[in-house]
């Protein structure tokens, strides 16, 4: 079977962009850097999560350069795919997806069509992710979809417990790995993912639903202000050299 090669542009902030770019290079797809001006992309991937205004600005700018067939895959960690699509001239081209860094560790990517998304674009998105070696699960649109939403709430609870002095960060992580088989302790896991992306999910859920259940732990909010984003900035719940 002939494998299809996609011409892809990756744009946006957050931890995911770089690792997606690295993987696309490895799998031999045509990759255009963020400043490329020509417009022959099959797929544009956009990954901003923390600053929703920035995300909107970026998507509006990018769309101006695109023919209307190009599919835009945009992370829906902090905002629904449907809201994201509403910013576009051609909302039917947008497909939401969710994944947490590190990209190479996730075998599966969640896709969510916006209410406005055209069916064939979901198929294209699916084809693309399968082409780069990911399994795909199509779910309904919602902030954080499934895995990022559940894990962010676990991390939020761990942060509440930490600041309430229930136990040390090390002991909280140890307890979750040894007492209930988590693959990583939630606080160290948060440091790996990036506190900015975790906060984006919590703040997005809180804003979307107004439910106190999703209120970000004050300490996570402070970490975002202080740019303690985790491993990538050298400081998160733990310190890194």
């Amino acid at each position: 079977m002939k494998t299809k090669s996609f011409t892809v542009k990756v744009a946006g902030e957050g931890s995911l962009a770089d690792s997606i770019i690295a993987q696309l290079r490895e799998t031999g797809h045509q990759l255009e850097d963020q400043s490329a001006v020509h417009s022959n992309f099959d797929i544009v991937i956009e990954t901003t999560n923390l600053d929703i205004d920035q995300k909107k600005k970026l998507l509006v700018e990018i769309e101006k350069t695109l023919p209307k067939e190009t599919v835009i895959l945009s992370t829906c960690l902090g905002v629904t795919a449907t809201e994201t699509a509403s910013w576009l001239q051609h909302p039917e081209r947008l497909v939401g997806f969710a994944a947490f860094f590190p990209w190479e560790d996730c075998e599966l990517v969640e896709l969510a069509p916006a209410l406005q998304t055209e069916k064939e674009n979901v198929e294209k998105a699916k084809q693309f992710f399968e082409e780069v070696g990911k399994e795909v699960e199509v779910v309904e649109d919602g902030v954080g979809l499934v895995f990022p939403r559940i894990l962010s709430l676990i991390i939020n609870e761990a942060a509440f417990a930490l600041t309430e002095g229930v136990a040390s960060a090390e002991d909280i992580d140890k307890a979750m790995m040894k007492g209930t088989n988590y693959p990583m302790g939630p606080l160290r896991w948060a440091d790996h993912i990036g506190i900015d992306d975790v906060y984006a999910v919590l703040a997005g859920m809180f804003k979307e639903t107004g439910e106190d259940r999703y209120r970000p732990a004050p300490f996570i909010k402070k970490m975002v202000y202080a740019k303690w984003f985790g491993k990538k900035t050298g400081r998160g719940f733990y310190q890194y050299d």
Binding site: G142, V146, L153, D171, K178, D212
Partner: protein, 285 residues
Amino acid sequence: MTIQTVGVVGSGTMGSGIAQTCVQHGFRVFLYDLNDAIVQKAFTQIKKRLNRLVEKGKMEEQTFQDSISRIETCTDLSLMKACDLVIEAVPEKINIKKEIFQALDEHCPEQTILTTNTSSFSVTEIASVTKTGERVAGLHFFNPVPLMPLVEIVRGVKTSEDTLKKLAQFVSSLHKDPVVCEDTPGFIVNRIARPFYNEALKIAGERLAKPEQIDRIMKKAGRFKMGPFELQDLIGIDVNFSTTETVYNSFFGEERFRPHYLQQRMVQSGKLGRKAGEGYYPYEN
């Protein structure tokens, strides 16, 4: 004083698992329950489980004999006075626990450490019926006890540092990992693990994804060994629901822990998971 003799009060799943683990690591154990039939049955179960280890070649015959010779069954709580440490593992009823601690406080010399394996109640509340809260702490094992490496050591408001230190040594001598935590609802694991189940239920309830999809996603995108629905089926959906209710109530109705009606419906229907032959998934028993 080093701990050599351990009293285990209650010979159900947790109690007999704790007793087994203790004798396997060289401790003498007094295993207590209300009547001889119950406690003998538990002793037989322990022998069976250890014998299986011998059959599998994981334990020497001599070690097996030594281990079971260290267990003494009893139905008289006053025998706990011979123990350096008592671990209470009776059903989660606060009045039963309080009665037991009152009796233990009277029978046991002051150097005996008194602990509870409770996962639902405040250690401070249980300790309140004793005159000596300094020697009372939580010692929370996980099911199945012989396999799960974690033990949460819970510091009640009055628990002394010395008690905590001795308990940490004891847990390490069982080749398990101790973590010390404060006496707060759900301690560490039962609290922080709540969203794993609760949020999965909420997502399923909002029809954003099906339980099978959520399980697949959590395993393949999140690298969890089991998904939240298959894990509830394994634990028992009723057990899981009751843990959630307890944590929710202990936090005075904090919204983050609010149980989901979908889970309650499963309990009400008797579809409790693997043990019932059906839960979120069907099982052939």
